[in-house]
């Protein structure tokens, strides 16, 4: 499973988006606000999910904000942090 596929699965399960299938999430679409429509509580939940599944710590929401823009940006963030 690619990182993007993994992320979609994690988000759907971890954030209770039961009605959504992974193929419905567009890689470049916004996750927050419009697009998938996640909110501030989902954002902090996503921080925990990233910690839990990838062992990556996000220290504050400034760090998270750019990474969380879309699946594309999140996958890039995860891959970069894994290297370092």
């Amino acid at each position: 499973m690619t990182v993007k596929e993994q992320l979609k699965k994690i988000i759907i399960e971890g954030i209770n988006l039961e009605e959504i299938r992974p193929e419905q999430i567009v890689d470049s679409a916004p996750l927050f606000g419009e697009g998938l429509g996640l909110d501030s509580l989902d954002a902090v939940e996503l921080v925990v999910l990233i910690q839990k599944h990838f062992g990556i710590e996000i220290k504050d929401m400034e760090e998270g904000r750019e990474a969380f823009r879309s699946i594309d940006s999140l996958a890039a963030f995860v891959e970069e942090r894994r290297k370092g």
């Binding site: 909110d39 501030s40 509580l41 902090v44 504050d60 929401m61």
Partner: protein
């Protein structure tokens, strides 16, 4: 709406990190010092340690501290109640003969905080039932009423961070309605792993001592403690020769109905709560000598609350005392009401420790250093998870 008659506050008990009683807390806040530490009663696996404002064991009377059949939250409530009754000049026998209501706010006091029990159960064990039985006997208002053998209404308010403020407003309404003749109103909460883990997971805690309303603020520090106020109808207080320390003049509350954890961006519920509180007290914003703000030091709370304070009370000094106590959750509204009374009595407010630099997004700055205040009326307000907003208007009592 009819303008409600005031309730007299004839006694106050208060226990928090700032002091073993109200006078001690006021003294230490005037000196401006604070020393939050990582928690001592429990350990966690977080990479960082977040400071908290714990109540030292020495602040709690030994006989109550030893009551391990009750949650610590409930022991705090009993300790504050004892102080309040002594302050009000009520002895136990006289209290039992009266109709006495108890209205206390809490979070941990009602939570199923049974981690050890649950761990053992999950692992297939048959854990000791004491944790469950302690939970069942520790409901704060029920326990205080039971321990003092009181006859009257009993209510535990679980409105998260506005519980203490709400409890006082509700108790005042009981007196007006004749549901009881004396009301013990306040709140209590203790530090524990569940709450600590929860607030950290929300990313609204600061790994340094908190900085209310400051431009660089990162979040809150948790705290614990309790405060209880003795409320009576003014005529009754006068009849028994009790001195009135202050009066509950007005109370307002409203729900943002916006989000489970974030306040309404325009503070719509808070504005409504302020409007109701001022209307019920029959005063205008300009009559308010100072405001004890909620001021948790989270980015969201202080921005929203600060803007509302700026809009509604542009000339009124305000202070956040959470820099000295931490956020004591269900106890906060009660502890801060106690502080507000004491500030009216002394004619000064402490500085908002932790605040140094104004936030341009807020356009309102709290008192940075102790400030003399003039006036007979003050406000304490609280904002809660779930969007509850509660405001109390307090007036000077007998001089």
């Amino acid at each position: 709406m009819t303008r409600p008659s005031p309730a007299a506050i004839t006694g106050i008990g208060c226990i928090c990190a700032a002091g073993r009683d109200l006078a001690a807390a006021m003294t230490s806040m005037a000196a401006g010092g604070r020393a939050p530490q990582p928690p001592v009663r429990f350990a966690t696996g977080h990479p960082k340690r977040y400071p908290v404002f714990g109540v030292p064991d020495a602040f709690v009377p030994a006989d109550l501290l030893g009551r391990t059949d009750l949650l610590l939250t409930t022991r705090f409530a009993l300790a504050a109640t004892r102080q309040a009754l002594a302050d009000a000049g009520w002895d136990a026998a006289a209290l039992r003969a009266a109709r006495v209501g108890v209205c206390l706010g809490t979070t941990v006091g009602s939570a199923l905080n049974i981690e050890d029990f649950y761990r053992e159960h999950r692992a297939g064990g048959e854990p000791d039932l004491e944790a469950i039985e302690r939970f069942l006997r520790s409901n704060p208002a029920a326990a205080v009423s039971r321990e003092l053998a009181l006859d009257g209404p009993v209510q535990t308010v679980v409105n998260a961070c506005s519980s203490g403020t709400d409890a006082i407003g509700i108790a005042a309404s009981w007196l007006r309605a004749g549901a009881c003749d004396v009301a013990l109103a306040g709140g209590a909460d203790e530090l524990c792993r569940i709450i600590y883990n929860g607030f950290i997971s929300l990313m609204i805690t600061d790994e340094h001592p908190c900085r209310p309303f400051d431009r660089t603020r990162r979040g809150l520090n948790l705290g614990e403690g309790a405060a209880v106020l003795v409320l009576e109808r003014p005529a009754d207080a006068a009849a028994r020769g009790a001195r009135t320390r202050a009066k509950v003049l007005g109370y307002g509350s409203a729900c943002d109905a916006h989000h489970l954890t974030a306040p309404h961006p325009e503070g719509r519920g808070l504005r409504r709560a302020f409007a109701e509180a001022l209307a019920t007290a029959g005063i205008a914003a300009g009559d308010v000598a100072f405001i004890n703000a909620h001021g948790t030091a989270t980015p969201d709370n202080d921005r929203v609350e600060g803007r509302v304070l700026h809009d509604l009370f542009p000339e009124t000094p305000f202070v956040s005392t959470k820099g000295y106590t931490g956020h004591t959750l269900g106890a906060a509204g009660a502890i801060e009401a106690a502080f507000t009374v004491a500030c009216l009595e002394t004619g000064s407010i402490p500085g908002s420790v932790g605040f140094t630099e104004a936030d341009p997004e807020i356009n309102a700055t709290p008192a940075a250093a102790p400030l003399t205040i003039r006036g007979d009326v003050a406000i304490s307000d609280s904002l809660a998870f779930g969007g509850n907003n509660a405001v109390l208007v307090l007036g000077r009592g007998d001089r």
